[in-house]
């Protein structure tokens, strides 16, 4: 009841402001909900292929093999699981930071070069995305191994080595960064491109040295890009499976391998689904936490509204 009154009042008000005839009021109501029909396909697909399986996964985690919380007890009391969970988040954070450090100057450069150079730079960023992740990881395997070309050159030129590159956190982070870098560069670039280039000279005119100008003017303005790229890279990084398996040792294995093992090898679906739900909840918590730091409180920072 009240809802209608408010809506009508608002409609009446805006009608008055627009100076429209009263007949327009009647057409306003339906127009408001009609665009919602466009949501139907997405709604149906999301509920069928995401929501329903997700509910199924959750139910399994508390009913398989018998009702109860034993799968979560197993998750939190098994030392091996906790090591892997901490390692997974640690690796994702490390990769996010490295990507940010690499991508920030690159994206900045993209905003100041000529159109032609920018297209080239964009191509360099996009090209890896078009190559199979497996092929790229195998290439790293060959390059990084003890008997590979990098260690070969080190031995031939400097007489050192072999330095352990493969089967280390370094190797895994390198492989993951190469895959995830575009997801950091592109949002950074799109947010930097919108920053008015005259603000920096203006800041120096007002007495700021370049460092101060960067930290007080440019960096805050590029924050949406940092958040958006950071969140994307971090969340994608949590789910990596192939790269830790091939470039790391057992000491770099991440949570997705643990889930795969429980589901596909041990057929312990209760435990596998509990791991999955745990990862999902952690991810959501982190997203909410990050959104607190973002000025407009958006869960998807960097999205223009």
């Amino acid at each position: 009841m009240t809802e209608t009154t408010v809506t009508e009042a608002v409609a009446a008000q805006s009608g008055d402001v627009l100076g429209a005839d009263p007949g327009m009021r009647k057409r306003r109501g339906p127009k408001n909900w009609r665009p919602l029909l466009l949501l139907i396909p997405a709604f149906v697909i999301v509920s069928l292929f995401f929501l329903a399986p997700l509910i199924d996964v959750f139910i399994r985690s508390v009913t398989d093999p018998q009702p109860g919380l034993q799968n979560y007890v197993w998750l939190f009391t098994t030392e091996a699981n906790l090591t892997v969970v901490i390692r997974t988040f640690g690796t994702a954070i490390l990769v996010t930071i490295v990507c940010l450090v690499l991508a920030y100057p690159y994206a900045y450069l993209m905003t100041i070069v000529s159109d032609r150079t920018r297209n080239m730079m964009q191509l360099f960023i996009m090209m890896p995305l078009w190559t199979s992740i497996l092929v790229r990881t195998l290439a790293w395997m060959v390059l990084l191994q003890d008997t590979g070309p990098i260690n070969g050159l080190l031995a031939a030129w400097f007489g050192i080595g072999p330095i352990p590159l493969i089967r280390t956190t370094f190797g895994v982070a390198l492989g993951m960064c190469q895959v995830l870098l575009p997801f950091m560069v592109l949002p950074l670039y799109s947010s930097m491109a919108k920053i008015d280039k005259r603000l920096l000279p203006a800041a120096s005119n007002l007495g700021a040295n370049p460092v101060t100008a960067f930290f007080t003017v440019y960096l805050p303005l590029s924050k949406p890009g940092i958040f958006s790229g950071g969140v994307t890279v971090f969340i994608l990084g949590l789910g990596f499976y192939i790269i830790p398996a091939l470039l790391g040792s057992s000491k770099e294995i991440m949570i997705s391998a643990l889930i795969q093992q429980q589901i596909s090898v041990f057929l312990m679906w209760g435990q596998g689904t509990a791991l999955g739900i745990f990862l999902l909840v952690c991810t959501i918590l982190i997203l909410v936490l990050v959104s607190r730091f973002n000025k407009n409180g958006s869960l998807f920072p960097g999205v223009d509204r």
Binding site: P30, F43, L48, T78, T147, Q261, Q262
Partner: protein, 375 residues
């Protein structure tokens, strides 16, 4: 509230509900629907490797294997000729135990024959796999000890074998499981399985190095075996896929490895200086399993019966390097492949303690999960 009274809103909601229902129906229809019982045919007394021409016209069978050169070889040597002779159509898929469980649980089984390990069929016998009707499969030329549970007909024989670099140890090669763990006498990195997939033979091999027999194992032995590898420290590296094991041997990353015999052969065939150690090795058998609730069990049995024929098995060996299970099979192999054929070395091979591993699988999986994740 009152917006629901608006006829157009209600139509919108009805449309939404309708499309959801339609989508649900579509999903429902795509699964199952195979309610017709398969026809019983008179196939006569089964003879391994034989099938009556055209008897399975119109039947489609799906084989789920382990991929790579192995599945290609099986297709060429076993399933394509079977399809041509019986009139059945054969499709291929990749095996995954989790996927099989999903199929069986949902009553929507789209595989007819799978290639898996003998531990899988033993563990899932009666729940995930159909029990065999051995009257319909001619196993007369298959050594009895290879049939390790009621839900399997053996598919291939292979081994978990120590493969060493001949440049490193050619003059004084390792000759026992104990040598594998002796980093003073045989310095260098060793590679062993840290795959999420579990070969219990990996643990048995470590116990063997301590002079234990695999016939009497206790739960404590599982940790003891794993500790043997952990004690190697930095000298042990892991492989997570067969291809990776082969790559590490080819590149010289590992001077020794406990790997599947076919992967050792693969490295040798690619020119790597590697040789197998046959003094002590672990026998492995892959199962032909038939998923529980298969739509046409008789047809699946006929295909399995055909696949263990002497001729078919010989050709499969020539194509894949994996030894057949039919003792009458006479594959025509070159000297290099002959060196890697496990059937030449069965006297020194150690058979796994299947019953123990089936009974103690939970303890095994917990220990293995910790090992495979660096704990």
């Amino acid at each position: 509230m009152s917006t629901l009274k608006n006829p157009k809103t209600r139509r919108g909601l009805a449309l939404l509900a309708g499309s959801a229902a339609l989508a649900l129906t579509l999903v429902g229809c795509s699964g199952g629907g195979n309610d017709e019982p398969a026809p019983e045919r008179d196939l006569g007394t089964p003879v391994a490797g034989e099938i009556e021409a055209g008897v399975l016209d119109g039947v489609t069978l799906t084989f789920a294997g382990s991929g790579g050169i192995f599945q290609e070889g099986q297709t060429e040597a076993l399933w394509d000729p079977f399809a041509a002779a019986s009139g059945a159509m054969f499709t291929q898929d990749a095996f995954d135990a989790g996927k099989l469980k999903a199929m069986v649980d949902s009553g929507n089984v789209s595989w007819d024959i799978v290639n898996t390990s003998q531990f899988d069929t033993a563990r899932g016998c009666g729940t995930l796999y159909e029990e065999y009707d051995y009257d319909q499969v001619d196993t007369s030329n298959v050594p009895e000890e290879l049939i390790t549970d009621a839900c399997m007909v053996p598919q291939i024989l292979y081994g978990l074998v120590v493969v060493y670099n001949t440049d490193a140890f050619g003059d004084d090669p390792p000759t026992s499981a104990a040598d594998f763990f002796d980093t003073e006498k045989f310095p260098g990195k060793r590679t062993v399985s840290q795959s999420t997939y579990v070969d219990p033979q990996t643990i048995e091999f470590a116990l063997l190095a301590d002079g234990r027999s695999v016939d009497d194992l206790t739960v404590d032995d599982i940790a003891t075996g794993m500790d043997k590898y952990k004690a190697l420290g930095d000298d042990v590296i892991g492989w997570t896929t067969g291809a990776q094991a082969q790559q590490q041997l080819e590149a010289g990353e590992a001077v020794m490895g406990l790997v599947w015999s076919g992967r050792g052969y693969g490295a040798a065939a690619a020119g790597a200086p590697v040789a197998p150690m046959w003094d002590e090795w672990m026998i492995m058998v892959d199962s032909n399993g038939i998923p529980k609730g298969v739509s046409d069990k008789q047809a699946a049995l006929a295909a399995v019966n055909y696949s263990i024929g002497a001729e078919q098995q010989a050709e499969m060996t020539e194509l894949t390097s994996y030894a057949g299970v039919n003792s009458e099979a006479r594959p025509d192999v070159d000297d290099q492949l002959a060196e890697w054929l496990v059937t030449e070395h069965l006297d020194t091979g150690v058979s796994p303690n299947i019953d123990f591993w089936v009974d103690n699988y939970d303890a095994l999986s917990a220990t293995w999960a910790a090992w495979a994740t660096g704990n």
